[in-house]
């Protein structure tokens, strides 16, 4: 053991002091007993998570953790499994445990023949037993924790890839740890380390507790999937581990190790590099579902449950929009044809939907150009630099607009009519302002040659580039 073990005892619940065999079970217990919303029975992951959920969804405040013993009801303490337990409570617990075991050992030894010798042995006994029990775990902890971050870190993009590329990578390949669960089904002996892994990993993050609380919102998203697969027998949940590493990753933000570990991951797995912003188009997307869950403060709790189910499909449809994930759990992505989707409401409105989901609508015209480009195509804004030989700059572009931009059929016929009132409108404002217009700048460069000093011939002859984006379509 190269590191001080934070957990030398069986998992126990800080809120009600109960003991558990396994941290997964402990977490299930916490979720069901302490972090369950009394209004909608939704299970959250932490006390603060429950508080936020009640506030945001039910507009109710909650100030104590349900079913907690007095003194342990602090709703603001972020405790998850064995993680986040204040040090002094840990020590108290250890002391209590030792006392209890000493008492029980003494009672036992009293029944035995040799008392004195056994006392020493027995006091050491429980601890050695505990240590012995922990050994196998510890053995995995060591390789895990150092590079432990890496698999977690690189996880988001990896899980689907992790499936395929994970042959025999047992203890000797620590970075692959998270990839193991999917490969585990055929390796019963390997089950134990996995099972043993998860718990040690959780508390193994000394740096995390301070870092975690601020990330309240991400929390609920992450642990959601992590305990789920860990709790059940791993082979029986092959689908879940895909999302599992993706979710547990953010729990372990140890920086330096993440970078190195992920790279080592890439050797065995066709996974995206640590720099999630680069290369693979899938990468940013697979990060997004979590990130989206993490960061959207308002929809944290509602998006959680939907996100879990829709995470794997999300990763394979990178082109599809996010909105459907949060707005409903029915990921209605498939209808990707954007332009083909008819506007549900006003038929005369060319501004249709660009989003794919049936449950959300993008309030933005369908064309891929920016709003400013669209607006700039209007003839009223076309009175740019006067082009030689064109009395009205708007005239030729109008015709071009009509031909090039089919979606804007409404425009060309309207343009001639539009111009006139606009003239009047433009005429007014400059006069209204107290004077400052510099001499050489007439408001609208219509006929008068107002070629700015640097203007050369070619730009004048060019059609306004605003036309060219339209020309693409």
């Amino acid at each position: 053991m190269g590191r001080k073990k934070k957990k030398q005892m069986k998992p126990w619940c800080w809120y009600c002091n109960r003991d558990f065999d396994d941290e997964k079970i402990l977490i299930q217990h916490q979720k069901a007993k302490h972090f369950k919303c009394h209004i909608c029975h939704k299970k959250l992951y932490t006390g603060p998570g429950l508080a936020i959920h009640c506030m945001q969804v039910h507009k109710e405040t909650i100030d104590s953790v349900p079913n907690a013993i007095p003194g342990r009801t602090d709703i603001e303490l972020e405790i998850y499994g064995m993680e986040g337990i204040p040090e002094k409570d840990m020590q108290e617990r250890r002391r209590t445990l030792e006392q209890k075991s000493q008492e029980s050992q003494k009672k036992k030894s009293n029944n035995q023949d040799d008392s004195d010798d056994d006392d020493d042995d027995d006091e050491a006994g429980p601890s050695t037993q505990q240590v012995a029990a922990i050994q196998p775990q510890a053995g995995y902890v060591t390789p895990m924790t150092q590079p432990g971050m890496p698999p977690v870190a690189g996880a988001p993009g990896m899980p689907p890839a992790g499936y395929q590329g994970m042959p025999p990578m047992m203890p000797g390949v620590p970075p692959m740890m998270h990839g193991m669960p999917p490969a585990m089904p055929g390796m019963p002996p390997a089950m134990m380390p996995i099972g043993g892994m998860m718990p040690p990993m959780m508390p193994g993050m000394p740096g995390i507790p301070p870092g975690m609380p601020p990330h309240m919102a991400p929390r609920p998203g992450m642990p959601h999937i992590a305990p789920a697969p860990a709790a059940g027998p791993i082979p029986s949940r092959p689908a879940v581990p895909a999302a599992q590493p993706a979710v547990t990753k953010p729990l372990f933000p140890s920086a330096a190790q993440m970078g190195s570990g992920v790279h080592s991951n890439t050797t065995g797995v066709s996974s995206p590099p640590a720099d999630l912003q680069s290369a693979s188009s899938q990468t940013p997307f697979s990060n997004m579902p979590q990130a989206q869950q993490n960061a959207s403060g308002a929809t944290a709790s509602s998006s959680l449950s939907t996100a879990a189910s829709s995470d794997p499909p999300k990763a394979t449809f990178p082109a599809y929009t996010q909105p459907s994930v949060s707005s409903s759990s029915s990921s209605s992505n498939p209808s990707s044809s954007t332009v083909a989707k008819p506007p549900a409401t006003v038929t005369s409105k060319p501004a249709t939907l660009t989003t794919t989901s049936a449950t959300s609508k993008l309030i933005h015209p369908d064309e891929d150009i920016s709003l400013e480009e669209m607006k700039a195509q209007l003839p009223r804004y076309q009175r740019l630099i006067p082009r030689p030989g064109q009395a009205h700059a708007a005239a030729p572009p109008v015709a071009a607009v009509g031909s090039i931009i089919p979606p804007q059929q409404g425009l060309p016929p309207q343009q001639p009519g539009m111009r006139h009132p606009l003239h009047g409108q433009y005429g007014a404002p400059p006069q209204g302002m107290p004077g400052y217009m510099p001499g050489g700048m007439p408001p609208y460069g219509q006929g008068p040659p107002m070629v700015p000093p640097y203007q050369g011939g070619p730009p004048l002859g060019m059609r306004p580039p605003v036309m060219s984006p339209a020309g693409r379509y």
Partner: protein
């Protein structure tokens, strides 16, 4: 900034504040209206830098004009000056000493407006409308950076008609931000490029966009040591991505959040998703404001990853926003941004710029 509150400095007078007949939702937040707003959509707002005493607000609009107001401590806004382009003005910025204003327009030129003499001269020329303009003040050089729909990013010494440098971009520039020594440009087709400006501007990295939709606005944020460390990128799909340039843990540090959407928890009706039109960071607190086509503004704390406030809905989209140099004033402009296409454009509809006291509402949320 002291009083900004309820003094009746509504310059246009009686526009729906004091019991008008119609329920006027043009100013549901009851913020101070700037007098003599532009007559067409406002594309950009900029407050004067701290090097100048007082607060001066510049707004560029689709009416081809750039207007300047002095914002007084009691909330009064006094129109000071105006300049014109021959095409809609798309972006404005101040020089670091506050003596010049740079304006970029659809007329493919950028101008330098000397406020003291009230003279404007052209300093830049592109082959297409200039969408973004920023002043760069480096220890060894100063220049104006212009990003255009002609897919180039050019750097101009204001004294010369030729650019000091011209960098090719993969696509049209849609938005940019500069905080020395970093510059970020977001382009069409979801392009995202970071430039480093030390010694001379050069492309630093092309980033895969964290967003899946068209980029619309970008704003750089700084770390606790006041160095630019990342940026916020907004798209047309009601989402902002917070992206760090070199985070210790990219997967955890970078995130996106949804904003400017309707029907938060109601899933029976389709959710309307609006574009994020602008993002501004509070100069002191580091919290950010976003404004969207839904006609609302929201304040966010990116470190606590929480929303601080969302406004009531205005009857028009909010197209631009800006903080003053000390973060006491938040300015936002209400005008049509074309998000619903041509049909919803009403040239008769008034455009507004509102000023709000931002000293309290943008304080970061205490992390537990």
């Amino acid at each position: 900034m002291s009083l900004f509150g309820t003094n009746s400095s509504f310059g246009t007078g009686g526009t729906g504040v004091f019991g008008s007949t119609t329920t006027d939702s043009h100013n549901p937040m009851k913020d101070v209206e700037v007098t003599s707003p532009p007559d067409d959509s406002i594309s950009c707002l900029a407050f004067s830098p701290p090097t100048m005493p007082g607060n001066f607000l510049i707004a560029g609009s689709w009416a081809n004009d750039v207007r300047c107001w002095e914002v007084q401590d009691n909330g009064q806004t006094v129109p000071k000056a105006q300049q014109m382009h021959t095409g809609p003005v798309l972006d404005v910025c101040w020089s670091d000493d506050g003596s010049k204003v740079f304006t970029a327009s659809c007329d493919k030129t950028a101008k330098m407006w000397d406020l003291n003499s009230n003279q404007a001269m052209q300093i830049a020329q592109h082959d297409g409308p200039i969408k973004a303009i920023h002043w760069i003040k480096a220890p060894n050089y100063s220049c104006v950076m212009t990003g255009s729909w002609d897919k180039t990013l050019k750097f101009w010494d204001t004294r010369s008609p030729n650019p000091m440098m011209s960098l090719q971009m993969p696509e049209r520039c849609y938005c940019a931000d500069v905080v020395y020594p970093m510059a970020v440009v977001a382009t069409a087709e979801r392009g995202l490029i970071v430039y480093q400006l030390e010694t001379q501007p050069s492309e630093f990295r092309r980033i895969d966009s964290p967003l899946k939709h068209q980029h619309r606005c970008v704003a750089i944020f700084k770390d606790k040591q006041n160095k630019p460390t990342g940026f916020a990128l907004g798209s047309i799909e009601g989402r902002v991505a917070i992206h760090y340039i070199n985070p210790p843990n990219p997967a955890k540090d970078n995130f996106t959040f949804k904003c400017h959407r309707s029907n938060g928890t109601n899933t029976t009706t389709p959710q309307d998703i609006y574009a994020v039109n602008a993002i501004s960071f509070h100069p002191v607190h580091g919290t950010l404001a976003t404004v969207g086509s839904d006609g609302r503004f929201s304040f966010w704390d990116k470190d606590a990853r929480t929303k601080l406030k969302t406004s009531e809905q205005l009857d028009q989209p909010i197209t631009a926003c800006c903080f003053n140099h000390n973060g006491n004033i938040f300015a936002y402009a209400s005008s049509y941004d074309w998000s619903k296409g041509h049909e919803y454009y009403n040239p008769q509809k008034k455009n507004y710029i509102f000023l709000r006291n931002a000293a309290e509402e943008l304080k970061p949320r205490n992390k537990k």
